[in-house]
């Protein structure tokens, strides 16, 4: 309660929502002092307030809430992980989480089936390998997304690992920032292909250079106000060039602006994106400069494209003679045995280093050239493969109705079946990124997909049936745009056939070298709408 009365917004509580009032009386991080007591009392004794604040401990009631199980999210800043950490996550999953491990779109691990009674032991074991769940959920700085290739990337301007660590040290578990108006997402990357999805974060740093005093300086540009959820916003760039050693200062400043000026009356308008949209970037920068002083104006953007966060296959590191192997984890889900197996492979063939990706995949790094072939022959790499089929290798899925209280449809297993069907029926030589989400929120980031699927339920004479809205043409990087929803909700059972027809339309009509996004831009959404109408008339009615 150290800061209870110092916050400006506490002066007029009548303007605060219920969660804000709770946070004023009990900071989210206070729950960490109560974990032992709550664990001893058991699930039945948890109050609504406890459940709300347990998000700061990184756990979230899983569906159905009354059964007493939790989802547990483990932070992995920039996706950088070692085999000892991976092995411990696997063991904890096996002992307390029914051997299920998900990789998330923010490079975290998520476990399920965790009970409050086991949390003290789990937190202790995670801390022994320097992993933490704290502030992985809640109104606070979430896991910092970064370039999973940081330090080994031939396409990065600088190694961002020390910067991510410095920002994390400055703002994570810091009571100055543990009561933000809402969740707060940071991305830091110097990869020139926008590996960390800058535009969909509250705050992002992207690679840039600037001539200063006759010398080309490598640094960053700063983006604010991005985010997805049910009202997606692209982040906007400030007129500011930041040297690497000043990233922490800017990150702290932006976080203070959000803390002090972010909206706390309505939770659905509390994300930083709403403040930035209302103020505009000029005013935002003016206020920010009041906290951190003036910075040089923007320099030259160094982002030249978007790799969408995919790294499957065998690739050279910037270190001579070393390779990283990008592995596809189907819809981001693996077993504890598989994760432990990957840790063993990282030790056997590399230097024990692994990286998680924001596409729910995983990398093994530092593999010498003479060991690559043997690694590729390992049985585990038959399923967690570096050479996935086109659709299987570019599929992202939210958790879905299996565990999420707000989901309306099942997602992961459905996506697995959809991509298996498409890979069988319509082999393609270029990737088409499919994302699926079980509700209008955006854990599966459906708005940035080439083809996004959003779940709903439809009433039919046979009862409730799952159905999906289809949106096309999303992209980040240069020319970033969210995808556009087509009219016509597709019954789940027909989704594979409808997608097959839409993708065949692209395959048959594309020009040489034209990717899916460029094709959508050229032919227009109306052409896809006409195709969808035609397919629905044939398939659903026929």
């Amino acid at each position: 309660m150290a800061f209870k009365y110092q916050w400006k917004w506490a002066e007029d509580p009548s303007k605060l929502n219920k969660v804000e009032l709770l946070k004023l009386n009990r900071d989210g991080l206070d729950i960490l002092d109560d974990i032992e007591r709550l664990a001893a009392a058991g699930h039945e004794a948890l109050t609504d307030d406890d459940l709300q604040l347990l998000k700061w401990a990184g756990i979230y009631a899983q569906r159905p809430k009354e059964d007493g199980f939790f989802m547990m999210r483990i932070r992995v800043p920039s996706g950088v992980l070692n085999s000892r950490q991976a092995r411990e996550v696997a063991r904890i999953s096996r002992e307390y989480g029914r051997s299920l491990v998900d990789v998330t779109t923010r490079q975290c691990f998520q476990l399920h089936w965790v009970r409050i009674e086991n949390c003290p032991e789990i937190f202790k074991r995670l801390a022994e390998v320097a992993l933490y769940t704290y502030e992985a959920c809640g109104d606070c700085p979430r896991n910092i997304v970064g370039n999973p290739l940081a330090g080994i990337d031939p396409h990065e301007l600088i190694d961002t690992r020390p910067i991510v660590e410095a920002v994390q040290n400055a703002i994570w578990m810091n009571r100055e920032f543990s009561n933000l108006p809402r969740k707060y997402k940071i991305s830091i990357s110097a990869n020139i292909y926008n590996a960390a999805h800058a535009e969909i974060n509250d705050l992002a740093f992207t690679p840039a250079t600037k001539m200063i005093d006759g010398e080309e300086v490598v640094g960053f540009h700063v983006w604010v106000g991005g985010g997805l959820s049910s009202k997606p916003h692209m982040a906007r760039q400030l007129d500011m060039f930041v040297r690497p050693e000043e990233v922490v200062k800017v990150a702290v400043g932006v976080t203070r602006v959000f803390r002090d000026y972010g909206y706390r009356e309505k939770r659905h308008r509390a994300r930083l994106k709403f403040l930035v949209a209302d103020w505009g970037v000029e005013k935002f920068q003016e206020v920010l400069e009041g906290y951190i002083g003036k910075f040089p104006g923007r320099g030259e953007d160094k982002i030249v494209g978007w790799n969408a966060g995919y790294f499957t296959g065998v690739h050279r590191q910037k270190q001579e003679g070393l390779y990283y192997v990008g592995l596809s984890v189907p819809v981001g889900r693996m077993s504890a045995d598989e994760l432990e197996g990957l840790a063993e492979l990282a030790d056997k063939y590399g230097n024990g280093s692994l990286r998680t990706c924001n596409t729910q995949n995983i990398l093994i790094t530092h593999v010498p050239e003479n060991k690559v072939e043997a690694l590729l022959a390992e049985p585990l790499l038959k399923r967690i493969t570096p050479f996935p089929k086109t659709f299987s290798g570019h599929a992202v899925s939210c958790t879905g109705i299996e565990f999420c209280n707000l989901a309306l449809t099942e997602t992961k297993e459905r996506m697995r079946k959809i991509v298996a069907y498409l890979d069988e029926r319509i082999p393609l030589d270029v990737p088409i990124r499919l994302h699926i989400n079980g509700c209008p929120n955006s854990c599966g980031q459906q708005q940035i997909a080439d083809i996004g699927l959003q779940g709903a339920l439809v009433k039919t004479p046979e009862g409730m049936k799952e159905a999906f809205d289809i949106a096309i043409g999303g992209k980040l990087g240069p020319g970033a745009t969210f995808n556009t929803k087509l009219k016509g909700r597709v019954p789940a059972v027909y989704v594979p056939y409808v997608l097959e027809a839409l993708i065949a339309f692209y395959r048959d009509e594309r020009q040489e070298g034209e990717d899916f996004h460029a094709f959508v831009r050229r032919v227009g959404v109306d052409a896809f709408q006409a195709k969808l109408d035609e397919v629905l008339a044939e398939t659903v009615s026929g």
Binding site: K18, D48, E66, K266, N405, L406, L408, L457, K459, M464
Partner: protein
């Protein structure tokens, strides 16, 4: 008062004449949400036979202040 385990559901009814109607109901589960939405549609607006498709598109935990903003027409 918050209702433990209840949700505020948003449904969309596409009518035979092409209009789209948004229905918001509080219910304990999806099945009930559909039932309540159909009742509201029939009581306030149209016969059941006029509804071409009824879909449940979003749910939120029920507590004071929870709601939806819905676009009804271009201004």
């Amino acid at each position: 008062m918050a209702e433990a385990g209840w949700y505020l559901y948003r449904l969309e009814a596409r009518l035979n004449d092409g209009r789209l109607v948004t229905v918001v109901v509080a219910a304990a589960n999806e099945e009930k949400a559909f039932q309540y939405a159909e009742s509201h549609l029939e009581r306030d607006l149209v016969f059941r036979s006029h509804v071409a498709e009824l879909s449940l598109v979003e749910k939120k935990s029920l507590h004071p202040g929870v709601g939806y903003a819905v676009v009804t027409a271009e201004v």
